[in-house]
Amino acid sequence: MWFVRLLSSSIGKKLIMAATGLLLVLFLITHAAGNATIFMSSDVFQSYADELHSHPLIVLVFSFSLLLIFLCHIVAGLYLFFENRKVSHSRYEVTTRVVKNSFASETMPYTGLIVLLFLFVHIFGFTFSPKDVQISVTVKELLGNFFYALFYIFAFVALTIHLSHGFWSMLQTFGINHPRYNTLISRLTLGIPLFFLLIFGGVALYFMTGLGAHY
């Protein structure tokens, strides 16, 4: 009963967005940590990937949970987007936004969709890559392509923008807003997305520029 009530209310749907958003951020942290091994050497990265895939059950459970989390986030996000579209953006002859820097909050569904598009490309490229080629080789081959890497960087910029509103918004939705912590929160809201951009974008840039040619 409480679950139905939560799902059908406006705040409940926001809580779904926030909870799934948090889980996605946590996933990204582990993913970034794993990918950072690329900077050490192809052997370290390959052994990390092999170790991970030597536990097929864990990989399977995590993959499906992740799929579910993404689906919830996307379905709830699109639902809210279309609900809010009923409030016409042209309801006034003149509209002046008082809040500065509202770009990220206004473009959440669009930056989200760019990330989704990226996910398709990413999963197609890496998860369903030929099994007989080592993943460390696939990474180098795909990201060595200038435009492939450029698309990756573009998507990571979109993710950074998404989180530059999303991270703060998530905490606000959870009810975390206190003058004592708000400075810390705004620093994290800038720092965490930039951290992702640095690691993920860095990997793409590493191969794009040829720096990683002999990694």
């Binding site: 705040i11 809010n84 006034y92 003149v94 809040v99 703060w168 959870f174």
Partner: protein, 251 residues
């Protein structure tokens, strides 16, 4: 004292069913010491003398405490000054030759009755759903019989500063009524008197808010920026907390 000449573009609409449009009026020699509403009074006098229909707008106290007045002035609720109601906005903030667009507060939940006059009873119904404390009346109790920390009292007072003008809804890109509802829930949730009905209140008021057709908050912060009473979105965070807790334990 100085005076300015203005071009006013005002939303005129005969009734809720009629189609409305912006009409242009010129108003000369507007005393800059006048408030925005006094400027509209002068316009209405002029219109009346010309046997035209005066512009309908809401107002009452004209000192920024009742919450009756309000319009969108050049795209901003209550006009360009921070933390003032329309009645407390003065014409000295405008320049000679300015063209000012005046539109009613809009929301799916606010039917326009006439011109700038809107029906905000949706907000009243949110209050009726639970924005009160039930007491068994008896003798008046002693003022300090219930101890309240000054910090709690201040926060409750800040939330209680909401005059219910509805500017938050009108300027929210999603037409959400979260700032209003959160202020009304916070002012009671923070005080001991509000504890008994605390969870029921959060559930009932949010349910009513959703029923009235207000939008979903996306934390755009526009409400806080235009609120004439400077109500903080920290109240919205509190509302989210109150609601989650109530839904998990009462629902």
């Amino acid at each position: 004292m100085s005076s300015i000449n203005l071009t006013l573009k005002i939303w005129r609409q005969q009734n809720s069913d009629a189609l409305g449009r912006l009409e242009t009026y010129t108003l000369d020699n507007v005393n800059t010491d006048m408030s925005f509403l006094e400027m509209l009074d002068v316009l209405n006098e002029k219109l009346t003398k010309e046997s035209k229909d005066p512009v309908a707008f809401d107002h009452d106290c004209r000192e920024g405490i009742c919450g009756m007045c309000g319009a969108i002035v050049d795209g901003v609720a209550h006009g360009p000054e921070k933390e003032v109601t329309l009645c407390q906005l003065h014409m000295r903030h405008f320049k000679d030759g300015d063209s000012i667009v005046i539109e009613p507060f809009r929301s799916r939940a606010y039917p326009i009755k006439k011109d700038l006059l809107i029906d905000r009873s949706a907000l009243d119904r949110i209050i009726q759903a639970g924005g009160y404390v039930s007491v068994n009346t008896g003798g008046t109790i002693d003022g300090n019989a219930i101890p309240i920390s000054s910090q709690k009292a201040e926060l409750a007072m800040d939330a209680a500063a909401c005059i219910g003008c509805g500017a938050c809804v009108a300027s929210c890109p999603n037409g959400a009524a979260m700032l209003f509802t959160s202020a009304k829930i916070s002012q009671l949730a923070l005080l001991p008197q509000g504890q008994v009905e605390r969870k029921q209140r959060a559930l009932a008021m949010v349910e009513q808010m959703d029923k009235e057709g207000f939008g979903n908050c996306t934390n755009a912060k526009e409400c806080e920026a235009v609120c004439p009473k400077g109500i903080s979105i920290r109240n919205i965070a509190r509302l989210n907390r109150e609601y989650l807790l109530a839904a998990l334990t009462e629902g």
